[in-house]
């Protein structure tokens, strides 16, 4: 079995060969070195993990310190002031905040139902051989950089809307009291609605791929049982799949929302960068990220720069709350499902 000089560990153990004193010492040395290596590696990895916390802390501290001059100058009014005038150095964040919330809200209003329905199609209706290709295509599309959506929106989608959808909306709702103010003004093509629609198209693959993943996590037994008692496909989806996967679906929607809120490039191209709060959805507006992207490199004066950083701080705050709430809700729901 054994050849001299090439003993396996097992052989040594079985034979119980006597260990020389020298061997013991050198063995202890080696063990000590290994232990040291291990301790070093342990601390290095822990340092790297703590580095992530340091990054987050750094982001917060740098944003707060950068935003301080503007916050001191304008105080709480910064949040509710609409005026944004670099010449007189009067800055208010209301218009960007409003634009951010409205565009994201409309985007989610469109993307969530459509995304969920696509996920239902992919998991329940789609022929087997088509599921994988479509699923892969969606995941690939979710990774396409937002600037691509932006450039398409600018050159193709905005002119298209200007000629078709917007005149139609103005003509249709122009005489209805409340709705007319939503679609007031000339059709520019660019504006809040265009930005919201592009955001919707952009987060669609995102929401679809997450919902499809969680829909697929439903144990087949549950669905088969429901089908077995005579449920229709829709009833299975609504009464079995949806309740079972609520956790993941909410998480996916929140992540999509976080992405829509902070999205910069897709919006910057088509929003129009107009600092005003307008009830009209087809009017040009601005979002926090678009304002920063458009104006930061051209900002002269410390107060202007600081006001833009303050906008960044607000954006970070909003997305942080949305994402943290998503995580927290997931944890709560997971716990409930677990019980």
């Amino acid at each position: 079995m054994q050849s001299a000089g090439r003993q396996s560990v097992v052989d040594v153990a079985l034979q119980g060969r006597a260990v020389m004193a020298g061997e013991t010492i050198s063995r202890a040395k080696v063990a000590g070195r290994l232990r040291l290596n291990d301790a070093i590696f342990h601390h290095v990895t822990r340092g790297a993990a703590a580095g992530v916390l340091i990054i987050l802390g750094g982001v917060m501290i740098s944003l707060v310190s950068g935003a301080l001059p503007a916050l001191q100058a304008f105080g709480f009014n910064f949040l509710i002031e609409e005026r944004w005038n670099p010449v007189t150095e009067k800055f208010g964040a209301l218009a960007p905040i409003y634009g951010t919330l409205v565009t994201s809200f409309i985007a989610m209003l469109i993307a969530v139902p459509v995304g969920l329905l696509i996920a239902v199609f992919l998991t329940e209706l789609c022929p087997m051989w088509l599921r994988r290709p479509i699923g892969i295509a969606i995941e690939l599309l979710a990774g396409i950089p937002s600037i691509i959506y932006g450039i398409w929106g600018l050159f193709v989608f905005a002119p298209f809307l200007q000629q078709t959808l917007q005149p139609f909306l103005i003509a249709t709702f122009g005489n209805i009291p409340v709705l007319s103010s939503l679609f007031a003004g000339p059709p520019y093509g660019i504006g809040m609605l265009t930005a919201a629609l592009i955001l919707a198209i952009m987060v669609l693959p995102f929401i679809t791929s997450i919902s499809r993943d969680v829909f697929e996590s439903v144990p087949p037994v549950l669905k088969e049982a429901a089908y077995g008692v005579g449920c229709t496909t829709w009833e299975v989806v609504w009464h079995v799949v949806m309740p079972y996967t609520r956790v993941g679906v909410i998480g996916g929607v929140m992540l999509g929302l976080g992405r829509a809120l902070g999205e910069t490039m897709a919006v910057t191209f088509v929003i129009g960068n107009a600092h005003r709060v307008s009830a009209s959805l087809i009017a040009p507006g601005t979002t926090i990220s678009a304002t920063i992207a458009n104006e930061f490199t051209e900002a002269v004066g410390d107060l202007y720069t600081s006001a833009l950083i303050a906008l960044g701080l607000i954006l970070f705050g909003i997305t942080f709350i949305v994402l943290a709430a998503a995580r927290y809700m997931l944890l709560q729901l997971e716990r409930r499902v677990g019980n």
């Binding site: 342990h42 580095g51 916390l53 750094g58 691509i148 490039m265």
Partner: protein, 279 residues
């Protein structure tokens, strides 16, 4: 009987809606990609890869932004990957149940979807403002901050997939943790970890917002990391918003190059991830 009809009708409506939603969603994406392919390929030529960005009205290419993007991406990966992998290692191996891991996982998930423009502001504050000028290095660091959460997440997930029996077997031989991790866990999770790095590259190769005020842009050939550096996404942004037809054409071509790169990276990552499961 009418109840049954009702249910059937409702089902029919819902299923038709979901089919329509799929056609609707897929329609937009096909539309966007076909315009991109059409506009991009019609501007694609050898000059794009061999000539510098032109002044308005002249012919030119995208050589300096291509090289700039390449440098920024490589640098960002070199900076970000080790940190991400080490942190992921801690979370999956040493500190699987510690408080630090729970917190870092939570924070990392937030950083993963944090608005990239805020990261640009952060790097501006800590690097550009103190140094007094925009620089390629700042751009690379900004991208590295985006790389870290992606790599960390995949590393942790992939290491957690490694069966504990492997670790136990290696430990039973007397190997210390560091060797178990390096020679057993890393080896078992290698394909997945490479996938994470590829996904991170795909993610940053289209990032524009964090570069706008870190590496800025450069009209000329420059590989100086201490000076503003051109990058493909920023050039696309600038050229697309310009009134010049030549520049807009180049912007489309650049957009096509980025999209194809991202798609290629994602596909390779998928193939790698799939190959992990088969053996």
């Amino acid at each position: 009987m009418s109840l049954y009809d009702n249910r059937r009708r409702r089902n029919k409506i819902a299923m038709t809606l979901s089919l329509l939603a799929t056609v609707f969603g897929a329609g937009w994406l096909v539309l966007i990609l076909s315009v991109l392919l059409w506009e991009g390929f019609s501007g694609l030529s050898l000059a794009v890869f061999t000539e510098m960005t032109p002044p308005p009205g002249a012919d030119g290419g995208l050589l300096n932004p291509l090289v700039g993007s390449l440098i920024l991406t490589i640098l960002a990966v070199i900076i970000g990957t080790p940190i991400g992998i080490l942190a992921g290692t801690y979370m999956a191996e040493y500190g699987r149940h510690t408080k630090l891991t729970t917190i870092v996982r939570f924070i990392n998930d937030i950083l993963l979807s944090a608005p990239s423009i805020v990261i640009g502001l952060f790097i501006y504050e800590i690097m550009v403002a103190p140094m007094g000028h925009f620089s390629g290095l700042a751009g690379a660091v900004a991208l590295a901050v985006i790389v870290i959460p992606v790599v960390l997440r995949t590393t942790e997930d992939m290491l957690l997939l490694v069966p504990d029996q492997l670790r136990e077997a290696a430990t039973a031989l007397g190997l210390p943790r560091v060797n178990v991790i390096r020679h057993v866990c890393y080896r078992a999770a290698k394909a997945g970890m490479v996938t994470g790095v590829l996904l991170a590259i795909a993610r940053i190769s289209g990032e524009t917002a964090p570069l706008l005020f870190t590496s800025l842009n450069n009209q000329f050939w420059s590989t100086n990391l201490n000076a503003p550096m051109s990058s493909l996404p920023v050039v696309i942004f600038q050229f697309a918003l310009s009134p010049y037809k030549d520049w807009q054409k180049l912007a489309w071509t650049g957009a096509l190059i980025i999209t194809l790169t991202v798609l290629a990276l994602s596909i390779i990552a998928r193939i790698l991830a799939a190959s992990r499961k088969t053996p």
